[in-house]
Symmetry: C2
DNA sequence: CTTTATTGTGTAAAATTTACCAAATAGAAA
DNA sequence: TTTCTATTTGGTAAATTTTACACAATAAAG
């Protein structure tokens, strides 16, 4: 939790810099070595976990705001980041004057009537992807903790964030063959075994180790390099790199890459 | 244009019923007999055309608001309707005090300083689909006209609405095999030739007349009925109907239907 | 030079897509 | 009645793509 004065200023003057009624919530997925995790913020005052989120500055585009919000909890920018859906049920967040009074008391801030934070908010959902081993999660201005959770051990989340996780993961999986999603997850030069593991883990299912890379190479999404990597007492695997031009070209023409 | 008093009330008191900073813009596509059109609202005060749009009531979900907004210009509800993207560049709408003063003068409403309409708005993009021959377009509270435009004769639109048309059409086309999009465009019982024409027109390309229906039947998306239609001096074609269960099941399991 | 673990080529079988011929109508015209 | 015209469809061969899997090719340690 940040300084009380900073929080207080946000509650009183936030609407001058941020737009009310609209927030961004980010499903930040982390991959490393066959494991898929998601970043969750803990809120003591509300007694539960949420996806990291925040408001949009009046000077920012949505993508810029999402980048900033992701950076606040990961300290990383330039992750693979994509908008997937906007959530706008008026009942999705039940956050009325009473809740706000309770919240103010919990965090030790004087209660402010008619705060810009009261009232319904529509939330633009983004998902992001990174290597979780590179990230030391950081709690935000309003949250008390921030940690990686294994994708199949997610606690029940507050508000409609369970639905957000479900929708974002579904989008991530369907877009895996259309966008260079895995590109930010791997070093510039990687082996077939490495990219195979990424796809298997993100999709949550087995893929034939021999046919899978053939497909990617055939589609031109990755290119074989004339280099090998030394991996100890085994045959040295060739290195590959992404061909990002292929993705953009395929997206323009609308070609299917599955 | 509606009554001045109604418009004036909207400008002064709108924020009590609608959320500021967030709007919905709908790309309403109309199909009929091999033709694809789009519905555009004309604004004299701004000298151009836009997609029909509106604000979100504080009691509505996004889908409900989109339905209402679509109904305002088409007088129809229950069209195929889908959210595709949210647009949030702070520069996407340049609508400052000066513009608003000019607008107020044009429509003959006293100028109100600090109106809730001033300032940037984020817009949630929806697309809808209907049979344009069933629709008599209707201008809204702020617009002066509303008409169908052939999809390849769209005038340059205001703000970022050209991009919206492009994105929405792209989404419509990619989703055509995954969702029962054409279902609302055809009678409950239709011939293969009819659905073939719908797909060709919406996709903007030729599809093999013999293989195309075989695919739909094989996938189980449409079912052959034991009835024929009389079409004059030619062989009577069989009638088919959509199997909506197949779509929902395929969406659950994430199966690809292309 | 054998063993072990992993990479990666090649290929045959299975499944799917594509192209298109020709038969089956239904009524109009001869 | 018999042709003629326009359209709907069944069927099928060829082309392409996907899937399964045998086994050859390392690299280094023992």
């Amino acid at each position: 939790m940040n300084s009380i004065s900073e929080l207080q200023d946000f509650i009183i003057n936030g609407h001058k810099h941020y737009m009310p009624h609209i927030s961004i919530d980010a499903a930040i997925f982390g991959y490393h070595d066959h494991q898929l995790k998601i970043l969750l913020s803990g809120y003591k005052a509300m007694g539960g976990y949420c996806l990291p989120g925040g408001y949009i500055k009046r000077t920012e585009t949505l993508d810029e705001a999402a980048n900033r919000i992701v950076a606040e909890s990961t300290s990383l920018t330039d992750l693979y980041l994509k908008q997937y859906k906007t959530f706008g049920d008026p009942d999705r967040i039940k956050w009325n004057e009473l809740d706000f009074e309770k919240f103010s008391k919990e965090v030790g801030v004087p209660y402010i009537k008619d705060s810009w934070l009261i009232d319904q908010t529509i939330s633009v959902g983004y998902y992001a992807l990174t290597d979780f081993s590179l990230v030391t999660p950081k709690a935000g201005l309003l949250s008390d903790s921030c940690n990686w959770f294994n994708i199949d051990k997610i606690p029940p989340l507050l508000y409609d964030h369970d639905q957000m996780v479900k929708d974002s993961l579904h989008t991530l999986r369907t877009q895996l063959y259309y966008y260079p999603i895995a590109e930010k997850l791997l070093p510039a030069k990687f082996t077939l075994t490495e990219i195979h593991a990424v796809y298997e883990t993100l999709l949550g299912k087995k893929l034939d180790i021999r046919n899978f890379p053939k497909k990617l190479v055939f589609l031109g999404l990755i290119k074989k390099l004339n280099e090998k990597r030394n991996i100890g007492p085994h045959r040295a695997p060739f290195l590959y790199k992404f061909d990002l031009k292929k993705y953009t070209k395929a997206l323009e023409t609308g070609t299917t890459l599955t």
